[in-house]
């Protein structure tokens, strides 16, 4: 078993990046995720593994540094929080278009605008439907614990390189700021330049004698060519939907009612499940871990067995659309949300279940 630590979620992201053999972090401070870069700077990852850490002049610069580095096959990561992630949307769209692998961490805070620094899940749409322009998808992971903050960084890199696509960790201020026990995976060695060149033949690493020069771009002025690019992307997304769905079911076997929630909300719903069951209400929890690909079939088959579904999110109702698109409108599906930085408490979630689903 790996090393055991008590860490903040943000710190776990940073430590996991080092251990995943990440080549570079580029970011800009913003609450509630500044600990990612602070931890890295304190850890001197350049001495530990050769990893480069640079504080950029803005989130726009950060994401374009990530774009540049990823285009050369390097394993790179950035993190920010909601307003900063909005500034990255052009760059993210470029990366999707140029098919570049990278991990982007959004430690979501309450919006819109400058909002508040408290936790929120209101960036679901932005992450899942594409906040940038054009038809693209990110793989979106929703860590619900410090352990997952760590593990999803590694998983994120694996998926990013497997599919040549940016991967987003959609976390929130609470998961970023809280400390939990985490079992760290062992250091994965950083690839040498030669390994990068060998493993990423698509990357712009300097022209090799035996191949054409490589061009990393998201431009194809010819619409027929651009349509081909898009068809290729769509085919890739289909493959991801077929292969990479992750979810968790808790107490679903005998459930008459169902919570659907991701990330921090799922943790709260888990407690609410306990509280409700203590009251005799048979409720289960379905937690999508991948938000894209969304567990469409899985959620549908579980929902088929229950009388009603409460989707709990720290937003005004976003993932609920994907739940409904999975199962149609003939099931009772309601939303319970708190927002703007407010975290719902387990007992109010139970109350909402009683009022909106069981009683309603």
């Amino acid at each position: 078993m790996g090393e055991l630590r008590l860490m903040k979620g943000n710190e776990a992201v940073a430590e996991a990046a080092i251990r995943a053999g990440c080549d570079g972090y580029f970011g800009y401070p913003i609450t509630p995720q500044s600990e990612v870069m602070e931890y890295l700077m304190a850890e001197k990852p350049y001495d530990r593994t050769g990893m480069v850490v640079l504080q950029a002049e803005s989130e726009v610069a950060s994401i374009n540094m990530i774009y540049g580095a990823a285009g050369t096959g390097k394993k790179v990561i950035t993190s920010s929080s909601s307003p900063g992630i909005s500034l990255m949307q052009e760059g993210i769209s470029y990366m999707a278009g140029a098919e570049l692998p990278a991990v982007i961490v959004n430690v979501v805070r309450g919006g819109p605008g400058l909002g508040t620094i408290q936790p929120s899940q209101a960036d679901y749409f932005q992450a899942v439907k594409g906040g940038g322009h054009g038809d693209y998808k990110l793989i979106v992971l929703a860590p619900a614990s410090v352990q997952e903050m760590c593990d999803h960084v590694k998983l994120g890199f694996d998926l990013a390189f497997k599919y040549r696509t940016p991967v987003m960790l959609l976390s929130d201020g609470a998961v970023g700021q809280m400390m939990e026990k985490v079992v760290l995976f062992d250091q994965i060695p950083r690839r040498t330049d030669e390994e990068v060149i060998a493993q990423c033949p698509w990357a712009a690493t300097g022209k090799l004698k035996n191949r054409d020069h490589i061009i990393i771009t998201s431009l194809d002025l010819d619409p027929a060519g651009q349509e081909r690019v898009n068809l290729k992307l769509q085919a890739k997304y289909k493959k991801i939907e077929e292969n990479e769905i992750m979810y968790e079911e808790i107490h679903c076997e005998d459930a008459e009612y169902l919570f659907v929630a991701f990330g921090l909300s799922a943790r709260i719903c888990q407690k609410a499940t306990d509280l409700a069951r203590a009251k005799g209400i048979k409720v289960g929890l379905f937690r999508p871990i991948t938000l894209f690909p969304f567990p469409v079939q899985q959620i549908a088959s579980t929902i088929k067995r229950v009388k009603g579904v409460l989707v709990v999110e720290m937003n005004a109702g976003q993932m609920i659309e994907d739940v409904k698109l999975s199962v149609g409108l003939n099931v009772k599906i309601e939303h319970f949300g708190r927002f703007g930085g407010i975290i719902p408490s387990p007992d109010e979630v139970v109350r909402a279940l009683e009022q909106k689903i069981i009683g309603g």
Partner: protein, 265 residues
Amino acid sequence: MEELFAKPEIRKPENIVYKKTDLMVDRPLSYCPGCGHGTVHRILMEVIEEMDIQGDTIGVSPVGCSVLAYDFLDIDMLGAAHGRAPALATAIKRLWPHRFVFTYQGDGDLAAIGTAETIHACNRGENITIIFINNGIYGMTGGQMAPTTLPGMRSSTSPYGRDVLTMGYPLKMTELVAQLPGTHYVTRQSVHTPGNARKTKKAIRKAFDIQKEKKGVGWIEVVSNCNSGWKMTPVQANKWMEDNMFPFYPLGDIKVDGKLIEVAK
């Protein structure tokens, strides 16, 4: 197309003294006739050929007319988002410190939307080369005003001439970045005459050479024409450039070996 003045006795492979470098991809350039972009491309590739660093160079092209530079330069390249080439180059150079990394950018790209990335890459003293094509206009999008457009100059968004009181002053990015400790070599050149083109080549060579010394940014501004945007023939445009651009953007070195050259203001 019979040739009247061919000299077969001279026209032999061993007598070739100038030939487009093989590092230019063999396809027609997408630029308008007479556009300086093509000349700079070729000169740049000559330097890379001379230094024998084709395999060690990673280039970053901008959004602008030279967005397709990567189609013409036979080296690995990345196309940046508009204005962000210095950010890409920063990350690439830091992760590949032994590669030669350059950006190739237009004036809209570098001096408008990319101002922050340009200033900060220069201020951090990234060990990269920045080639900055200043044609005083947005060529690609159809001739809009650029930050570098001269006072009174017409463009599609200053159809009655640039009015400095409402549209601002032409911005001398080169003089600005020369003020920063992170730039090591800063020069302004042109490629419209053989002499100038040769000087530009030396300047690019120098900027690449200092990448080896890790002393900071090497910066070459090339004042260039955009005959389409200026609505002139190429020859007229070069003349207009000499008469109007050069007085405002004087050619020559501005900073050498990290030291500002003393010139009259």
